[in-house]
Symmetry: C2
Subunit: 131 residues, 2 copies
DNA sequence: GCAATTGATGTAATAACATTACATTTACAT
DNA sequence: ATGTAAATGTAATGTTATTACATCAATTGC
């Protein structure tokens, strides 16, 4: 999945997120795209839904915001669980994968016959630069 | 921390959550407490803030809802990171602690000089009973 | 080509979740 | 009793997300 096959609105939203140095809310994205003809939240949410589906964007559940994937070409989203650190001061987000964590979570779920869907791992705190 | 030393509003909110078999949104709690004199969201949010602080309640970030802690007397909240499974069909929530996961997350944060604050781990899916 | 279908878009309205601001009351220590 | 901190009441507002419905564009089958 590359950026080429995105529709106009998807491309615009992805572009805004890609160039941002911190996560953005849907409404912030909307504001940034007013000059490009965006008028309503739904235009943003629809594009985000697709981008999430493509694995180009992640939703940060704990802050109701969205970030471009740090390595969209690796199919992040077929790569297992993505964990995040989120700096509450500057917004810096770091993505990582940990197979040990993933295995432990899967083992717990399996032991309870729980069928795992989307899993969220988010560490909020302060990054090195802001400490 | 026992239920005794809660204020009236805190006690009412905790009671509603304790007797619910699934997570509740703040506005659902408000509706359930209208007959007890609750009139405004803030009454619920203020009580929830305190209950979260006391470790009697958890907030599920991925579904904007709240649950009573499964083992409030063990000081869940001084016990390290709490992880959850959340059934998207019936709302069943299971709480668990895993020191291996916690150690891995701490190690990652330490390696990046990231100062860890609140950490969220939530697995959404389908419970055994709903499969 | 052209109808039928599907996916994407535009727009308005509304729903759901959360906070700010300010006035008042209660609990409690001095 | 008085001063202080915590809790409460109420209204207004801010923020995040969805529903509903109309239109437009790309694709497919004929
Ligand atoms: Zn990613
Ligand atoms: Zn920072
Ligand atoms: Zn707990
Ligand atoms: Zn279930």
């Amino acid at each position: 999945m590359t950026t080429q096959q995105l529709t106009k609105n998807q491309g615009l939203v992805f572009d805004v997120l890609s160039h941002s140095d911190s996560p953005l809310s849907a409404y912030t994205i909307l504001d940034k795209l007013r000059d490009n003809g965006f008028r309503a939240p739904l235009q943003v949410y629809r594009a985000l839904d697709k981008l999430l589906e493509f694995g180009l964007v992640h939703r940060l559940e704990s802050i109701n915001a969205f970030v471009a994937c740090a390595h969209p070409h690796e199919g992040c989203h077929n790569h297992g669980i993505t964990a995040f650190t989120i700096c509450e001061t500057c917004g810096q987000v770091t993505e990582f994968h940990d197979h040990v964590i993933e295995d432990r979570l899967k083992a717990f779920a399996k032991g309870r016959n729980f069928k795992t869907g989307k899993t969220t791992i988010e560490i909020r705190g302060t990054c090195a630069g802001c400490a």
